[in-house]
C-alpha cells in the first residue's frame, strides 16, 4: 500500500501491524526511534519531505503509547516551512505532541502570528487551529487582538472566521484576564446574524463560554439565538450540506438551546412566545423513525429542548408534557433513549411541581434498576435516590435493599450508602429505620461504612421508645449462624446498652445475651474486641442481683485480655476489671449513654461532598445552585451546647464530674494509664468524643448540653442594621442567644422578595423554606417546615398576622414534626388593595427543653402582585399623557440612592417585575418601565414609571410614577423608593430626604427630561 507518497511510513505501519506480540512491537518501535533519532542528528541532510515523514512516524509511535522525548524541535520547525504540506504537518503534530507549557512552543509564536495576520487563508486556518488547541498565556497576550479582528472582519471568509471563533474561545477560557471581551456583546450579537452555518456553529460555542461567565452582558444575544432556532426549525435557508438525515444541523440546534440555558430567564414576552413555539414543535413533532441516525439526531434535539423547557420554568401543562415524554422514553426498547430518559428525569426533579407526576413512573424506574446495562442501572439508582421522599421512601428503600443482594460489586457501596441516607432522611418511623440499617449490614456488611452503624446507634440512644425494639432486633440477628463483623459490633453495642430492657423475654437473660455475644469473640478482629469488652462490663452492671457465675466468667475474660498486645483492648480489660470490683459504684460509672448532641449526619455530609466532587457545571446545575432547594439542607452546624463536631464514636470516655472523681480515687493503675484522669470536676460539658461519657455518672442527670428551659426569642429584624426599615417589624422582646438563626433573616427575606423560592429561616433545629406562585391578585405560598434533628420538634405553632390589605389562610400546621421530616403547609393569599404593609409569620416550637419563637416577615409584598408587561410607544404615550398630575401621577426627587449603574437598575426593576422598556425614552440616562398591578379593588391596573438619573451624581434621581388609582400610585412610588435606597440589606445611607413628596409634573426644567416635557 503505497499511500500518501510516504512509503517509509507505510512500511513502518505495516511492520507494526504484522507484529505478533507487544514485545515484537516494542523492538520494532525502538529500532525506528533509533533510526529517526540518527536522522534528526544529522539534520543538515534532511529534506522537508523526509522531516515530514519522520515526524509522522513519531506521532504514530506516540499514539501507540511509547514515549517520544526527542524530535519536538523538528516538529515545531516544520511550522516555519514555506510549503503547505510541511507546514500543515508541523502544526498538526505539534498540537498533538506538545502542551501549552512546552518551551519550544514559544519559539514558534512569531511564525504563528505571521501566519495569522498574513494573507494566506490556508495558513491562517492552520495557525488558528493550533492556537485553538494548545495556545497558552503567551499566545493569548500576543494574538488575542488579531484573532478578534479576524473573527469580525468582513473581508475574511467563513472558513477562517469559524476557526478564529474557537481560537478566541480557547484563549478566553484559559486566560480570561488577558483577553479583553468588554464590548463584545454587540459583536457577538452581530456574529449571530451570520448566514454561514459553520461560522454560526463555532460562534455559538464561543457564546456559551462568554454567557456562562456573565450572562448579563449578553442579553442582546438572546433574541438572536431564538431567531436562529426559528430559522433551523422552519428549515429556512439551510443548505443541503448542513442537513443531516433531513434535520437541519442538529448540532447547531443543540448548541443554541444550550446557550439559551445560561440566561436565567427570558423577559421579553415576544421572544419567549417565539421560543416556546419552536420548543412545542420539537416536543410534539419528534417521531420515532426506523433510521437510527435520523432517530438519534432528532432525539438529540428533543432532549436539548426538554432541558431548555425545564430551565425556563414553562407552564405546568408543558412540563407535564415533558414528563409524559420522558415516561415514554424510560420504557422503550432502545437503550440509549432509555438511558437518557432516566438521566433527564433526574434533572427534571429539580423542577417544581412535577415530582408527583414523576412518581407515577416509579414502577418502571425500579424495573430499570435491574436492567442488564450498568449505565442504565446507575441512572435508575440516581433517579430513585433523587425522587425519594417521605411518601415513597419505604417502597424505594426496600427495593434498594432487595436489589443489594444481586447488585454488582461496583455498585454496592454506593447503593448501601444511598439506602442508608434515604432511610435516615425519610423514615416514616424510626423502628423502620433501624430495620433498614440492620438489613443493610446483614446483606452488605462489607460495603457498610462505620458511619452508617454509628448513626443508627445515635438514633437509638436519642430515642427511648426505640431502645427495646432495637435491642430485640439486634438479639434476633445474633441468632443467625454467620453474621458480618459490623453486625457483631452494632448488636453488641446495642445489647450492652439496652439488653436489660428485654430481660423478661425468652433468651434474653444477661447470661444468655452474654453467651451469644461471646460466641462471636473468636471470629472478630481486634477492632471489635474492645466493643465486646464494654458490652460485657455493661451486662455485668445490669445484672441485679449479681450472678456470681457470670461475674467469674467475665472477670476471667478481663484478666485474660489484661496482657493483650493491643493497647486499647488491654486498657479496657484492666479498667473494666478494676471497676467491676467496685460493686454498686459500677452502676454510676457505667450508666447508660447520654443522648447525643444533634449534629449533621456524617452520611449526609458524605453525600453532599460526593455531589460537590462530581459537580457538573451544566446549566441546569448552575441554576439549581442559584435557587435554594426546598429539600432539607443540613448544614454543618455547631450544636447549641458548643460540642465540636467529631465524626467518630468513641467508646471510652473521660469522666467529667466530681462524683466520678470520688469513686475513682483508688484507681491507681488506671490513672497512670491516663484514661481515667479527670478533666474538670466542675464542668459537666460533654467531651468532644461522641458516644459521650460512657463512664460519666453525670450523664444520668440529663443529656449533655440540654440547658435549663429558656424561652429563646429571635427577633425578626435581627441582622438588619436599619431600625427605620420601612418593612421591618420591631416588636421584639429581649433576646437570648441560645438558639441562633443560621444566616441573616433580613437578607433571606429580601432575597425572597425578588424570587419565589428559598429559605425563609433556619436555625440548628429547623429550616423553613418557602415556595410561592402568584397569579393576578392571588398567591399560593407553601411553607416547608423541615426538622433537621433525629428527634421530634414539639409544640409547633404557626400564626399568620396579616396586614389589613391581605386575606390569608394557612392550612393546618401539625403540632409535632417527626425526626428529619419535612411538612408542607400551603398558605393562600389574596390581595385586596395596594399597600406596602407586610404579613408576619409568628412561629414557635419546642426542642427538648428549649423553646424558640420567631417572628418572620413573609414575602407577600407589593411587587408579587405585579405582572410585567411591555408596552410600545403607541401604547405608552397616550396613557402617560392621560394621567396628568397628582394624585394619579406623582413625581419625587429621591436622594441618597444606592449608587448603581443604569444597567443594574434596569435589572433590579426587571426583578421587581417592573418591565423596563428600552428605547421609549430618548435620553439614555433615563429608564421607563411598565407593569400591571392586581388587587381585588383595582383589578388589573396598568402602571407606568420613569426614572431620570444624573450620570454625574448617582445618589439622586427623579422618579415619576403613574397609575389609574391614587393609592396605588403612592404605594408603588414609595415601594420603588425603598428598593432604590436600601436593597439588598446593605447598610443603608441616611433616610432619604424627600424634597417634594407629591410634586406635580409641571415644573420641568431638566433639559434631559424630554419625554415628560413633551407630554
Amino acid at each position: 500500500m503505497a499511500l500518501s507518497g510516504m512509503r517509509g511510513l507505510s512500511v513502518f505501519i505495516s511492520d507494526i501491524r504484522n507484529c505478533q506480540n507487544k514485545e515484537q512491537e516494542r523492538l520494532r518501535v525502538d529500532k525506528e526511534l533509533g533510526n529517526v533519532r540518527t536522522r534528526f542528528k544529522n539534520e543538515k541532510g534532511l529534506t522537508p519531505y523526509e522531516k515530514k515523514k519522520y515526524v509522522w512516524k513519531m506521532l504514530y509511535i506516540y499514539m501507540l503509547g511509547y514515549d517520544v522525548d526527542f524530535g519536538h524541535m523538528e516538529a515545531v520547525s516544520l511550522i516555519s516551512a514555506p510549503k503547505y504540506p510541511e507546514k500543515q504537518v508541523g502544526y498538526i503534530v505539534t498540537s498533538c505532541l506538545l502542551n501549552e507549557n512546552h518551551d519550544f512552543l514559544r519559539l514558534a509564536i512569531n511564525t504563528v502570528r505571521n501566519d495569522i495576520i498574513g494573507r494566506n487563508e490556508t495558513f491562517q486556518c492552520l495557525a488558528l487551529t493550533m492556537v485553538g488547541n494548545i495556545g497558552g498565556r503567551e499566545f493569548a497576550e500576543s494574538l488575542a487582538p488579531d484573532v478578534q479582528k479576524l473573527l469580525i472582519s468582513s473581508s475574511c471568509r467563513p472558513l477562517v472566521r469559524k476557526k478564529a471563533a474557537l481560537c478566541l474561545l480557547r484563549l478566553y477560557r484559559k486566560n480570561p484576564d488577558v483577553v479583553n471581551v468588554d464590548g463584545w456583546s454587540d459583536r457577538m450579537a452581530q456574529l449571530l446574524d451570520e448566514r454561514d452555518l459553520g461560522v454560526l456553529t463555532s460562534s455559538m460555542s464561543l457564546l456559551v463560554a462568554l454567557v456562562s461567565n456573565n450572562h448579563d452582558a449578553y442579553w442582546s444575544c438572546l433574541p438572536k439565538c431564538v431567531k436562529i432556532l426559528e430559522r433551523l426549525a422552519r428549515n429556512q435557508d439551510v443548505p443541503q450540506e448542513y442537513t443531516y438525515y433531513g434535520i437541519p444541523t442538529p448540532w447547531l440546534q443543540v448548541k443554541t438551546m444550550r446557550a439559551l440555558q445560561y440566561f436565567p430567564t427570558i423577559e421579553d414576552p415576544n421572544t419567549r412566545r417565539s421560543l416556546f413555539e419552536v420548543l412545542q414543535r420539537i416536543l410534539m413533532g419528534t417521531d420515532v423513525v426506523k433510521n437510527v441516525n435520523k432517530n438519534n439526531a432528532s432525539h438529540a434535539v428533543l432532549f436539548e429542548a426538554l432541558a431548555l423547557v425545564m430551565h425556563l420554568d414553562a407552564e405546568k401543562e408543558m412540563m407535564s408534557q415533558c414528563v409524559a415524554l420522558l415516561g415514554k422514553f424510560i420504557a422503550v426498547r432502545e437503550p440509549n433513549i432509555r438511558y437518557l430518559g432516566l438521566e433527564n428525569m433526574t434533572r427534571m426533579l429539580m423542577v417544581s411541581d412535577v415530582q408527583d407526576i414523576i412518581k407515577r413512573h416509579q414502577a418502571q424506574i425500579i424495573t430499570s434498576l435491574k436492567d442488564p446495562d450498568i449505565s442504565i442501572r446507575r441512572r435508575a439508582l440516581d433517579l430513585l435516590y433523587g425522587m425519594c421522599d417521605i411518601s415513597n421512601a419505604k417502597d424505594i428503600v426496600e427495593e434498594l435493599l432487595q436489589y443489594l443482594s444481586s447488585a454488582d460489586f461496583a455498585m454496592r457501596e454506593e447503593l448501601s450508602l444511598k439506602a442508608a441516607i434515604l432511610a435516615e432522611k425519610f423514615a416514616p418511623d424510626l423502628s423502620w429505620y433501624v430495620d433498614v440499617i440492620l438489613q443493610l449490614i446483614d446483606k452488605a456488611g462489607d460495603f457498610v461504612s462505620d458511619d452508617i452503624w454509628f448513626r443508627v446507634v445515635q438514633f437509638v440512644t436519642n430515642n427511648e421508645d426505640l431502645q427495646p425494639y432495637a435491642a430485640a432486633k439486634a438479639r434476633e440477628y445474633l441468632d443467625k449462624p454467620a453474621i458480618h463483623e459490623t453486625m457483631v459490633k452494632v448488636s453488641a453495642y446495642l445489647l450492652g446498652e439496652y439488653s436489660h430492657l428485654l430481660a423478661r423475654r425468652p433468651g434474653c437473660s444477661p447470661k444468655e445475651i452474654f453467651g451469644i455475644i461471646h460466641e462471636k469473640l473468636p471470629t472478630v478482629s481486634t477492632s471489635t474486641v474492645p466493643i465486646l469488652l464494654s458490652t460485657y462490663a455493661k451486662i455485668l452492671m445490669h445484672t441485679q442481683p449479681s450472678d456470681p457465675e457470670l461475674q467469674n466468667q467475665i472477670w476471667a475474660i478481663f484478666s485474660k485480655y489484661e496482657s493483650c498486645i493491643d493497647v486499647e483492648i488491654q486498657q479496657r480489660a484492666v479498667e473494666y476489671f478494676a471497676l467491676s470490683r467496685k460493686g454498686a459504684a459500677l452502676m454510676d460509672i457505667l450508666a447508660e449513654m447520654p443522648k447525643f448532641p444533634e449534629r449533621q449526619s456524617s452520611l449526609l455530609k458524605k453525600a453532599e461532598d460526593a455531589e460537590v466532587d462530581t459537580a457538573e457545571q451544566s446549566a441546569i446545575k448552575l441554576r439549581a445552585q442559584q435557587q435554594t432547594s426546598n429539600a432539607l439542607v443540613v448544614t454543618d452546624q455547631r450544636p447549641a451546647n458548643g460540642t465540636p463536631y467529631v465524626g467518630q464514636l468513641g467508646l471510652v470516655m473521660v469522666p467529667s464530674s466530681a462524683n466520678a472523681d470520688h469513686n475513682l480515687e483508688n484507681q491507681g493503675p488506671a490513672q497512670e494509664n491516663g484514661t481515667l484522669s479527670q478533666v474538670d470536676p466542675q464542668s459537666p460539658s460533654p467531651s468532644a468524643d461522641l458516644l459521650g461519657d460512657l463512664l460519666g455518672p453525670l450523664a444520668i442527670e440529663g443529656p449533655p448540653g440540654a440547658a435549663a428551659p429558656t424561652e429563646h426569642v429571635i427577633p425578626a429584624s435581627e441582622g438588619d442594621p436599619n431600625p427605620a426599615d420601612a418593612l421591618a417589624l420591631a416588636p421584639v422582646d429581649e433576646q437570648t442567644n441560645s438558639v441562633q438563626p443560621i444566616g441573616n433573616i433580613a437578607e433571606r427575606f429580601h432575597a425572597l422578595c425578588l424570587k419565589d423560592s428559598g429559605v425563609l429561616y433556619e436555625d440548628p433545629y429547623i429550616q423553613i423554606g418557602i415556595k410561592a406562585e402568584w397569579r393576578a391578585h392571588h398567591g399560593r405560598l407553601v411553607l416547608f417546615l423541615g426538622n433537621k434533628n433525629t428527634s421530634s420538634l414539639a409544640s409547633v405553632q404557626a400564626l399568620i398576622l396579616p396586614p389589613s390589605h391581605l386575606k390569608m389562610e394557612l392550612s393546618l400546621v401539625p403540632e409535632t414534626i417527626p425526626p428529619r421530616a419535612q411538612v408542607q403547609c400551603p398558605l393562600e393569599v389574596m390581595n385586596l388593595r395596594p399597600s406596602r404593609d407586610v404579613a408576619v409569620l409568628d412561629f414557635s416550637y419546642k426542642f427538648g427543653t428549649s423553646s424558640v419563637n420567631v417572628k418572620l416577615r413573609l414575602p407577600a409584598v407589593l411587587n408579587k402582585f405585579l405582572h410585567p408587561i411591555s408596552v410600545t410607544a403607541e401604547e405608552f404615550f397616550p396613557q402617560w399623557r392621560s394621567l396628568s398630575g397628582p394624585p394619579l401621577k406623582l413625581q419625587e426627587v429621591v436622594r441618597g440612592v444606592r449608587p448603581m449603574l443604569l444597567l443594574e437598575m434596569a435589572n433590579l426593576f426587571n426583578s421587581l417585575r417592573l418591565m423596563v422598556c428600552p428605547g421609549l425614552d430618548p435620553n439614555a440616562n433615563n429608564l421607563v418601565a411598565s407593569t400591571t398591578f392586581y388587587s381585588e379593588s383595582t383589578r388589573a391596573m396598568l402602571c407606568l414609571m420613569r426614572i431620570e438619573t444624573d450620570p454625574a451624581d448617582r445618589t439622586q434621581l427623579r422618579m415619576t410614577v403613574s397609575s389609574g388609582d391614587p393609592t396605588l400610585t403612592f404605594e408603588l412610588k414609595e415601594f420603588i423608593k425603598e428598593q432604590l435606597v436600601s436593597i439588598p440589606t446593605a447598610t443603608r445611607p441616611p433616610a432619604p430626604e424627600v424634597a417634594q413628596p407629591t410634586s406635580a409634573v409641571t415644573s420641568l426644567t431638566d433639559p434631559g427630561a424630554m419625554l415628560a416635557g413633551l407630554l
Binding site: 507518497g5 448540532w251 439526531a297 446507575r378
Partner: protein, 136 residues
C-alpha cells in the same frame, strides 16, 4: 479509535494528559467499552467523564465528554465523521485509517477544534484535503 483487539488507531486529546495518564485512561475505557454488547446503550460513565461510543465492524469510536454534553448529538457526530471518511476513502475501513493516519487527522481537525465542533458540512470538511490531493 480503537479496534476490537484494543489497539489504538487514532487518538486525539483536547486536554493535555501525559503518556502515563493516557495509557491508563485508554486501557480502562477501552476495556469497559469492549466488554459491552449491542443491547446495551452507547454511554459509559467513567470517573467524572462520560464515554459516548459507537462500533463500526471491527472499529470502535470512543469520545469522552463531560457531563454537560448532549450524548446523542455526540453519537451522531461520530457517524458524521465516519460518513465523511467514507466519502473521501469510499467504503472506509480500519486499514484506510491506519495507513492514512494523516488524512484522518486532517479531517478530524477540520471538524473539531479545542473540543468544540467547527464544521458539520462534509464538503467543507473535505475541501482542504481535496485541495492538497490535487496539488500533489
Amino acid at each position: 479509535m480503537v479496534n476490537k483487539q484494543g489497539q489504538t488507531r487514532l487518538a486525539q486529546y483536547y486536554e493535555y494528559l501525559n503518556l502515563e495518564e493516557r495509557r491508563a485512561l485508554e486501557g480502562e475505557i477501552v476495556r469497559k467499552c469492549l466488554a459491552r454488547n449491542e443491547q446495551q446503550c452507547s454511554f459509559v460513565e467513567h470517573r467524572t467523564y462520560k464515554i459516548v461510543y459507537r462500533r463500526y465492524a471491527s472499529l470502535f469510536f470512543l469520545v469522552g465528554v463531560d457531563n454537560g454534553e448532549n450524548e446523542l448529538a455526540i453519537l451522531e457526530f461520530i457517524h458524521l465523521l465516519v460518513e465523511t471518511m467514507d466519502r473521501h476513502f469510499g467504503n472506509v475501513c480500519e486499514l484506510d485509517i491506519m495507513f492514512h493516519l494523516e488524512k484522518a487527522h486532517f479531517m478530524l481537525e477540520e471538524m473539531v477544534m479545542n473540543g468544540c465542533i467547527v464544521e458539520t458540512s462534509k464538503a467543507n470538511i473535505l475541501a482542504p484535503i481535496q485541495l492538497m490531493d490535487k496539488a500533489s
